[in-house]
Amino acid sequence: MRFDLSVVMDNWHVFARGLAVTVACCALAIAGGLALGLVVALSRISRRTSLRAPASLYVEIIRDTPFLVQAFLVYFLLPRFGLRLGAMTAGVLALAVYAGAGFAESIRGAILSVPRGQMEAARATGMPRLLAMRRIVAPQMMGYLLPALTNQLIGTIKESSVLSIITVPELTMASSIVLGQSFAAIEAYSVVALLYWLLTIGVALVMGALERRALRHRRGLAGPPQARAAGRE
């Protein structure tokens, strides 16, 4: 077993293009998933059953089936309704629908992690509901939301590798292309694994910085370590 570096050098543009498509797909899917997740999370904590029931059903179905099966369903189901989409659009759509369920659960948990009394006190002092949500609840839920969101983001990036199966030309597809030309399995897969690894580590670092920034008000008396531990409750 030997590592042939020339395979990596000769095909760097294939890997680069794959990486670009993966980043683009994930960015779009995460943006869509966050919007969807917010709506679903608010529906799930609503008092109306007509909002709560479909939102819960969506989350359960997405969480209890493999993403691969969901991707195949989106890929085959949409054309039946007259929607002729490219692989990439279908892939981003499937990934957004998948990620939305996870985001919804994180956001719901984060909102519920703030004691009810906070909202009630804000309302009692005369704050409108939305303002209280933004000024009182949102800043306090970050300690729960950001770590959960980090896991979801990394999960979405990793799950996006499945999109190569429905022919989206992303990073995993790049390894298949290189493998097809050079039969260098070890080289092709380790480069791609390394790129995914760097991508997820990068996301974790950025989210960690965001988390420290969002929780800087907690450093005052208790000091950072305890404050962080408290934030994960």
Binding site: T65, K158, I165, L179
Partner: protein
Amino acid sequence: MDFQVRHVIEALPFLLRGALVTVETSFLAVSLGLAVGIVLTVLRQPRIRALEWCSQVYISLMRGTPLFIQILMVFYVLPAVGLDIPRFFAGVIALSLNSGAYVTEIIRGGLSAIPRGQLDAARAMGMSRSLVWRHVVLPQVLMLVLPPLAIEFTSLLKASALLSVIAVVELTRTAQQIIAATFRPIELWLATGALYFVMCFLLGSVTRWLERQAALYRP
């Protein structure tokens, strides 16, 4: 859109057989994953820096790269180094290696739930180290790690769908084969999704029951 139940009914016996393979694969993988997790936990003891660092990198790598790549890597790289194993076992190995990284975290969570005071008290009573492990730590940890292990089993059940790519004939691969013969993707994928849903949902109920049991043991 013409949804024909006939196609689902005809395919059902085959799909159920595929589902059985999915369950077998995931169960094997979570069991071997537990073994990997135990080894990693032992290596992670901070006595020897290099070992601790290695297991740290292993866990980060397994959790930071897609399972799909890991499966392809095991499938293509093992033959390249002269190990010719059946694809079913290549798949189980890939799943177990991945699962081990997650199980390590589960074990760590279980161990950290045991208050230090219990160990000190047991030692003060004159119990030997191995006696403390067998009678104080392990019974509690075993009960505490069962619910998260059930969750890990559920997520492997879904993840094992990826083994279809290396042609392990589990539920997803079975569906693909039937679709290739009948050209009814909608019916088959809906039925396949429903079967996964039922399996995961039932396991979810078992997990909640285990969680209630474990709550009684929580120190």
